[in-house]
Amino acid sequence: MSAQTLPSGATAQEENPQWTVPSGWEPGPSSSVRRGSWTVKGPDGQSADVAVTAFPGDVGGLLANLNRWRAQIGVPPVTADQVASITSNIDVSGTSATVVDFTADKPAQGKTQPQRMVVVTLSHAGNSWFFKMTGDAPLIETQKDTLLQFVKSVKF
């Protein structure tokens, strides 16, 4: 075992909040990184992945993460002064959460539909929480409100 001494009295990682999982969301791939994971199936083989993650601190801040998410589905980056115009806010468990939503212009390789990503992010107890839905744009068009309702059901 390591020679380092672990400090006493340290606070534990924030536990998962309570939430209400929408009907139709099937359990998705679980991992040590995901606090929650679901798969949504749509018509014509469409699908979306829903992931809840949380990390200590601000993990780089909104702009850096926004551009990283945009790159993940092939959407060009934005500058700091563009952020306000492409984000909105909702209330989650008494905390203001930021919503971002963007769609690729064309399908990525191997996909038949352009990909869309909706992320709701908030800070709570020193952690950054991310509620992210990624998948086929037409399916996400029908699921965005469901995602927002899910996030609004979160109770820390």
Binding site: Q4, L6, S31, V33, A51, P56, G57, G60, R68
Partner: protein, 175 residues
């Protein structure tokens, strides 16, 4: 399965991986026989993970076999004692990880390596991700924690990120 000899058997596999890499074979899946693959699985290790260590050794002469063995031993211990020898059902997704630029309390890379360490302990590493990569080594060298020791710190901290953060702060301050 000869548990007493596991480190020697692992050394055999490691040396084989280094030899094959130097011969130009870049297909990790082709490196090991069925028996060798089964041995690696019994200690919670994959061909890709061993390939990555061999590659970095051949290219950069780091990490050493000693470090590779210690990292593998930490994973093996977690696999056998906590997971009872049962492998996970999947791997983490790269897009779920914190960015390399993310920092906490001034320690850039710490959020990312913390997630990587948990995934490494649990055998959830995707093929494109290496625990103990150059970025990890640079961070751990800076805060003066051996890569295998960091895994054990994360293990001991369980789900308490703050314990790991405080440990890193203390070690970095003392170095």
């Amino acid at each position: 399965m000869n548990d007493y000899q596991w480190a020697e058997t692992f050394r055999h596999c490691y040396d084989k991986a280094v030899t094959l890499y130097r011969l130009g074979n870049r297909k990790a899946a082709s490196y090991f026989s069925q028996e060798e693959t089964a041995f690696l699985a019994s200690i919670g290790c994959t061909a890709q993970e061993l390939y990555d260590f061999a590659e970095d050794w051949c290219r950069d002469e780091t990490p050493s076999f000693g470090t590779t063995l210690l990292i593998t031993a930490a994973r093996r211990d977690f696999f056998l004692t906590i997971q009872k020898g049962k492998p996970p059902t999947g791997t983490i997704r790269m897009e779920d990880l914190p960015a390399k630029e993310a920092e906490i309390d001034g320690f850039r890379w710490l959020p990312r390596i913390l997630s990587k360490a948990r995934a490494k302990l649990r055998g959830e590493m995707p093929s494109e991700l290496m625990y103990g990569c150059g970025g990890d080594r640079a961070f751990l060298r800076k805060v003066n924690i051996h890569p295998a020791d960091f895994l054990r710190v994360v293990w001991a901290a369980r789900e308490d990120d703050q314990k790991v953060i405080d440990c890193v702060k203390k070690t970095a301050a003392a170095s």
